[in-house]
Every structure is written in C-alpha cells, then in structure tokens.
C-alpha cells in the first residue's frame, strides 16, 4: 500500500521494533500478504514483501511522490489517498480495502490495516501497515454467495419441504414449501421440537412418540436417515403422506443441526392408490364373475355376490332383483337386507337416476343393477366405518360391480327361465305315471343331470294299449334344454298315439316320419317295449338306445340285444326291426337311459356290467325299485347326464294263466281251471260260459291250426281283470297255416266275437296272439 507519506526520524526505531519483536513479526507475516512501514508523512519505507507482491522497484515507491499509490487500482486510488491524508491528520489507524495491482498485472483485492506507532511523547512516530490479500477469500465468499443464491433459489422454490433443526430438534429454518405443506409459519414451528408439531400422531390416531421417530433416532445417532415413507400432520390436523430424509450437520465433529427434507407424496400416493385400487378392482371383478359363474340361479348368484362383497369390503350388502315384474330380495349378507323391499322399489322407481343414497340412511349406498338397458335390480351396500369414495367402494366401483351383477343375474334369469320351462315340460311329461297298470307293476326314477348347463332330455312314459298290453318307453332327446324338452313332448305324444295301432318296429318307422317333419334338428334315442301281461311276453325295439334288461326273480339278468336300429332323427335311413322276448314268472323288465350306466372314460361294457351287478343287489321289485337302482348306480359318482329308469313286472294276483301243450284233450283241463278261476273272481253264469267258450275256441284254434299234428308246441292262455274288463290272451308260437276246413275256423271266430266285446288276432313270425276283452257288468251275468 501506500507509501508512508512522511518518513519520520523514528524509522529506524520501527525497524528496530519490528526486528526486535520477532514473534510479532512472525505473526504478522503469517497472516499478511505484505508488511510495510511508513514515515509520519506517509512515505513508504522499503519493504521486501511490498516489492514481492507488486513487483515495484524500490525507487518507484520510496520517493516523496508516493509512487506506491500507482499500484492501487485507479478507481480506488482517490478514496485511499483521502483515507491516508485523513489518517495522517488525525493520527488514527484505519482499515481500507482496495484493489492492489499484483506483479502479475492482476488487481487483487486487499485489506490494509495501518496503525500509527506512537513515539514516547505520544506523537506518531511512524505507520505500520499490514496488507492482506483477500481476493481468494472474497472470491470464495462470492462463489459461496452465488452458490447460496442458487441453493436459496432451490430451497425457496423446492417442492420438497426443507426444515433445518437445531440440536434440540427445533426448527431454525423452513422453506416456503414446508410452510405450504404443513401450514405453519417458521415462528409457529419454533415453538417446540419439530416432531411434536408435525409428527406427533399416527394416521390411526395413536400418539407418535419422538423416541420412535426414525428421523430423531438417526439424528440422535449422528447418522443420516435414508429416505423413507411416513405420514406427517398438518396444522389443520390432516395427515400428509411423505417421503422424509434427514442429514445431520456436523462441524468439527459436533452436531450442530439437522436438515430434514420432506417430500409430499399425496399425489404419488393418490396415483399409487388409484393404480392399486384399479388393479384390485379388476381383480375383484374377475373373481366375482368367476364365483358367480359357479352358480346357476338368480338367487344363488345374488347371494354369492353379497357374501363376496361383504367379505371383501366389510359391512353388509343385499340385492333386490325384479323377477316376474316384482322386486324380490335375492341375496342378503346379513340377517336382514340393507334396504327394505319398499326402499328398493322406491329407489328403482325413482326419477332421479343419479341418487345413490337414501335420506336418513347413513352409510347406505344404492346402485342400480342394469340389464339390457333397464333397471333390473338394486345393490345396496352398508359400509362399515369408512365411507365409500375414501376406500375402494366408491361410486364408480359400485357401478362397475352392479354392471357385472346385471350381466350375471340377467343371464341366470334367462337360463333359469329356459330351464324352468324345460323342466316343467319334462316333469309334466313324467307326471301321471302310475305305479300299476293292470297287472303290470311299475317303478320309475328320474335323476336330473348334475352338470348345470347340460339339461338332458330323458323321459319315460307308460300307457295301456287297447289290446291290454302295456306300452313302456324310455327316451333320450339330445339337444339344448328347451328344444330337447319340446321335442320330448312331441315324441311322447307321438309314441302314445302311434302305439295304439303299431307294433314296436312300425312305431319307430312312424316316429322317423314325425321327426323328419319336425323343424328342430335333434336326435333322439328310445327303447319301446310292449309288455303283454297275459302272455308274459315283451315285444320291443331300440332306436340307438341301450338294450332293455330282464331281471329274473333271483336277481340274475340278461340284456335284450335284438330289435336294434339307428337313433331317431339320424340321417341314415334304417330298417326298423323289433323282437319278442319271453318273460318268465317273476321276471322284471328294466328300461333305462345311458345316463344310468355311462361314465366318462369308461367303456360301455363296464357300464353294463355294473348295471347287472347293481340290479342283482337292488332287492325285491317294489315301487322304490327303480329309485334304489338309480341311487346304487349313481352313488358317489358325478353324473352329467340325466338318468332315468322304468321298470315293469307282470304281477297278476288273481290272474289266470295256463299252458296247453297242443293236445286237444287238454282243452277240457283248460276250461275247468278257467271256470274255477272265473268263479273265484266272481264271474259266473253266461259270462263265465262265454269266456270259457271263447277262450277254448282260441286255444283250440292254436292247437288245431297252428300246430297241426305237431303236439309239442305250447299255447299259453292268460286271463285277467282290469278296470271292469276281462282280458284273455291266447298265444301260440307255431307257424300259422291256412286252416282246413275253413268252416270250423269261421264258426270259432264267430263264436268268439259273439261272446266277447273285442277280439283280435295278431300273426307274426313268432306266432299268433288272440286277444279278447269282455266288459263285466255289475248285474246278473257276473
């Protein structure tokens, strides 16, 4: 710096002083850039450090023209000279900061401290000045300031809240984001430990002690706290989800504070919750749909839905559905529905389609269940605790659930309706079958298939034909529910109507015609058997149907494999055939559908084997026989298909049966036994005579005409009474020959017709059957 303007005589003293006091000098030199001394007038004494800094030759600054000022930046020179003049006048120390030219040519900012060194009389003897290069320091500070500005800009504008805590945990600084985030001003935040102000309570309402606070724990241990998620409390008491981190500030190993950075996660949380909710919703809806699929009826599905809802979201749920024009409670998770029938009806009927609540019913939300554009039902939910909108069950979610419900319930109702119609048809068809027709005892069972969507078209029917035989039919219509049921109804009627005048094979032919004229494209199988109780024979035909089974009195069985042809409705033309089988005393005939014996992945032979085994152990033939057989065969197995069994057994208590071995002499025995039987059943007089005569005639016909000289054949004679009518059937197994002489035959027939109300002759390959019927009056002739 400036040269001391007026070098004083005490210069040597000063030098001496300086030289004398080595410590002083050392101290000065260690902390200063340059040292100088100057005379009282301000002229500089030579200074090595000055020269070293400025590069100025000694001659340039030691002169009286104060050449040292040349090194001062021109802009600072004037001010410095004034300070120096003033100091000389006042003899007072001064401090100045100015730019001094370095020998490199660069101006560096320096601070000079110039102190007057008094003489013994107190007058200034010389000046001692210390020049300190403060350029680096100032630059650093400026850098720091600049940095500080940036930092400040960052902190002041950060979305993160920055809070500076002192070692006691009290806030010393917060940025605007923190003010914004928590709603406190700095002075409010300074009223106590920060934890107690913004972190005192957990979201569940329980207190949050400071010792448990991760930030305070970290601070306590002098460690930074890695970012973690927490929930802080705003001034207004609401919670704010945050990600928080803390860094302790240490200086010289001493903890002087903590910076806490807090990031508001409300939006992020909202997004995440929304995403999770959305994913959870999709998952829930899929699960709900899956669960509902497992049920068939509207009520089952509705009940399942409310249980799932109640379980998943807490609270209670109930569903009302409009069934048959009337709103009906179909499911409730609790003891009672969430809303009453009246409330549900009012909601459905309300003109306000946006309403979701009912006045005075807090926590109850209603959603319309829509199906095919109409308000089909109402889902009512009573939430537990948190209101919908806050949790998962908000309006939009409820609407989504209701939409799914609408589909599921509407489908169920459609299906149910169709199924009801088909079942009604089917059951209608199966009703009215009696346990006995004449001497034929019947037992039947029908087991609907367990597979919900597959409705079998199994059916059976039993009817009496005018000739005293009993028609037995078991069928299986393959097709979709309603169509199958319709076809079943058609077939049943056709079988009844056609069987009156057609034997089994002929019946199938005519059914083919019926099927081909039917618009529906279904296939049907059936077994038809014409059971003749008086002859104990069965004439049967199977169209693609499992063979009838004959069970004897000991439980042994055989299958009737003859009389087989293609199913009805099959495209292949097929010749219809039938067959006749004899039934022994105590034999039962069993017709059934394949559902009884078929199992997936099992050959039919196994099924037939099981049928035989089961029949053997089903027990005596009674009304429950078919039921027991069905239970036995279906026991423990899943049966997709319908199964039905129709069993028949000829039992003629009081009936008459006789066998004739084609010898004319035996006719008398027949007549005698027949007369005895007629008497036993209360038939006497002319009626008895007539029956005996007609029967004898028929038997004689057989003996004479059917067998000729072959007397080894057997003619069977059966008689019975049913519904006020006497039936006689005489059957032989010979080949019919043209009778000779014709007169006898004519007279015989004439007699039979004269005596009996109805007489028919039936010839086929297996023999001849004569059937006669006579009404029994209640009067004198019986």
């Amino acid at each position: 710096m400036p040269t001391a303007p007026d070098p004083t005589p005490a210069e040597s003293d000063a030098v001496a002083l300086r030289e004398r006091d080595g410590r002083y000098r050392l101290l000065l030199e260690s902390t200063t850039t340059a040292l100088f001394t100057a005379a009282v007038d301000g002229s500089l004494h030579p200074s090595e450090s000055w020269e070293q800094f400025t590069g100025q030759p000694r001659s340039a600054y030691t002169g009286p023209d104060r050449g040292g000022f040349d090194m001062v930046h021109p802009d600072d020179r004037c001010a410095l000279e004034q300070d120096w003049v003033k100091a000389v006048e006042t003899r007072d120390q001064f401090v100045a900061t100015y730019r001094l030219r370095h020998r490199s040519g660069e101006y560096r900012r320096v601070r000079s401290h110039v102190v007057p060194v008094p003489a013994s009389d107190g007058s200034p003897r010389e000046w001692v000045g210390a020049i300190t290069d403060i350029e680096d320091e100032l630059r650093a500070r400026e850098d720091l300031d600049r940095q500080g500005e940036v930092t400040n800009t960052i902190t002041e504008n950060a979305s993160s809240a920055l809070l500076l805590m002192d070692p006691e945990g009290q806030a010393t600084y917060v940025n605007p984001a923190a003010v914004e985030m928590f709603g406190y001003r700095l002075d409010e935040l300074r009223k106590g430990p920060l934890h107690d102000i913004i972190h005192h309570t957990r979201p569940d309402g329980s207190p949050y002690p400071m010792v448990e606070c991760p930030i305070d724990q970290a601070v306590e241990q002098g460690r930074p706290r890695e970012p973690y998620e927490d929930v802080f409390v705003r001034k207004d008491g609401t919670f704010v989800p945050v990600r928080a981190a803390a860094s302790p500030i240490q200086r010289d190993g001493e903890r002087i504070g903590t910076v806490v950075e807090v990031q508001d996660l409300t939006i992020e949380h909202g997004l995440r919750v929304a995403l999770e909710a959305s994913s959870r919703r999709a998952q829930f809806l899929a699960e709900l749909a899956g669960k509902l699929d497992g049920y068939v009826t509207v009520h089952e599905r509705a009940q399942q839905a409310v249980e799932v809802l109640a379980e998943s979201f807490g609270g209670e749920a109930s569903i009302h559905v409009s069934l048959g024009g009337k709103l009906e409670l179909c499911g409730a998770s609790g003891q009672s529905p969430v809303v009453s029938d009246e409330e549900a009806a009012a909601f459905i009927g309300s003109a306000d389609t946006t309403a979701r609540t009912i006045d005075g019913r807090h926590g109850v939300f209603l959603v319309p269940i829509l199906a095919r554009g109409r308000r089909y039902g109402v889902l009512a939910v009573r939430t537990s605790g948190q209101p919908p909108g806050e949790g998962c069950l908000d309006d939009s979610f409820l609407d989504e659930i209701a939409t799914r419900l609408g589909l599921a319930l509407d489908n169920a109702q459609l299906y149910e309706r169709e199924r009801t119609v088909s079942r009604t048809l089917q059951l209608g068809l199966l009703r009215g079958v009696s346990a006995r027709i004449g001497d034929v005892r019947l037992s039947y069972a029908y087991e609907p298939g367990s597979e919900t969507m597959a409705v079998g078209g199994d059916w059976y029917d039993v009817f009496r034909l005018p000739d005293g035989t009993v028609g037995l039919v078991v069928g299986d219509v393959v097709g979709h529910a309603l169509e199958a049921a319709t076809e079943m109804s058609l077939l049943r009627g056709a079988v009844r109507a056609l069987a009156v005048e057609a034997g089994p094979a002929e019946l199938l032919c005519r059914l083919d015609a019926v099927m081909s004229s039917s618009p529906s494209d279904v296939m049907a199988t059936l077994a038809y058997a014409q059971l003749d109780p008086t002859t104990s024979t069965v004439r049967y035909a199977c169209a693609g149907h499992p063979p009838p089974l004959v069970m004897d009195a000991t439980g042994g069985s055989r299958l009737l494999w003859d009389g087989r042809s293609m199913p009805l409705g099959s495209s292949a033309t097929t010749e219809r055939v039938d067959a006749t089988a004899e039934l022994g005393a105590g034999d039962s005939l069993v017709l059934y559908t394949d559902g009884l014996i078929e199992r997936r992945g099992e050959s039919l032979d196994v099924g037939f084997g099981r049928l035989g085994t089961s029949v053997a152990s089903t027990g005596p033939f009674d009304e429950a026989f078919a039921r027991r057989l069905t239970d036995r065969l279906l026991d423990g197995s899943t049966h997709d298909d319908d199964a039905c069994v129709l069993a028949a057994r000829i039992e003629a208590p009081g009936g008459f049966a006789h066998e004739l071995h084609a010898a004319p002499a035996e006719l008398a025995d027949l007549r005698r036994e027949l007369a005895v039987w007629l008497t036993s059943v209360g038939i006497s007089g002319e009626t008895a005579n007539g029956v005996v005569l007609a029967t004898s005639e028929a038997a004689a016909n057989s003996v004479e005409h059917a067998y000729g000289s072959d007397h080894n054949g057997v003619t069977s004679i059966h008689a019975g009474i049913e519904a006020g009518e006497l039936h006689v059937v005489v059957r032989d197994h010979g080949t019919w020959r043209t009778p000779n002489p014709p007169g006898d035959r004519g007279r015989g027939r004439f007699l039979m017709r004269a005596i009996m109300d109805e007489v028919s002759f039936e010839h086929d390959s297996t023999g001849t059957t004569v059937r006669m019927r006579r009404r029994l009056g209640s009067g004198a002739d019986t």
């Binding site: 002499a665 006719l667 005579n689 004898s696 006898d744 015989g748």
Partner: protein, 117 residues
C-alpha cells in the same frame, strides 16, 4: 231197450226205433269226431241227442252237431235235440245262431214227440 256202443263219454240207448245218444262230456275238438261218429252211426228212424249233461260245446262240437244233423236229415232220419233251457247247450246253440224252436226241453218230450211224416 238195449245198450250199445256206450263208453265213458257217450251213453247210447236204443228204445224200439229210437236211439238216444247222451254225451256226458264236453263237446269240443277232442270229442267232436266221436260224437259225430256215434250220431251218424245211428240207423234208427228217430235219433235223440240229449245235451242235458253236456257241460261245454265249442265250435267243433257245434260243427259236429250241425254236420251230423244234416247227415241224418239227408238220410230222412228224425233228429231230435234235447236242450233244456238255461243249459250250457241251450246258451251255446243260441250263441251259435241255432233256431231255438228246434230244441226239446226234456228227454221225455223228445221220446213222446210225434214224428211228422
């Protein structure tokens, strides 16, 4: 009166010029040929067939009766049928369409009946 040709099934009596044939069996296809044999074998001017004890007659029996009557008539023999009313034979013949006026109620009536021409 002598008894001739009787067996278990047919009782045949001859009184002067009258032969009385009494079937004691059912008249059916088994016995009809025998019946006819017995009746057509009669050479007496009057042949009486007593159906009183006949328990049963079938079409074969009717046929035999019919044929034998025709046979005898063709031989100008007088055939008299004893068919008590309400008997099986009476009922059977009526059913078969025989003229009931042809029947005689008792054997005594038949035996006493005057033969026309």
């Amino acid at each position: 009166m002598s008894t001739s040709d009787s067996d278990a099934e047919f009782d045949i009596q001859t009184q002067r010029d009258r032969r009385v044939i009494t079937p004691r069996c059912d008249l059916d296809m088994a016995t009809a040929p025998t019946f006819r044999l017995h009746v057509e074998a009669a050479t007496e001017p009057v042949v009486i067939v007593d159906f009183t004890d006949v328990g049963f007659i079938d079409s074969a029996g009717i046929h035999a009766v019919d044929r034998s009557i025709t046979s005898l008539s063709e031989r100008h023999q007088d055939v008299r049928l004893v068919v008590p009313s309400d008997s099986i034979a009476d009922w059977t013949f009526k059913v078969a369409g025989f003229d009931p006026g042809f029947f005689l109620p008792t054997l005594d009536v038949a035996l006493g009946a005057q033969q026309d021409g």
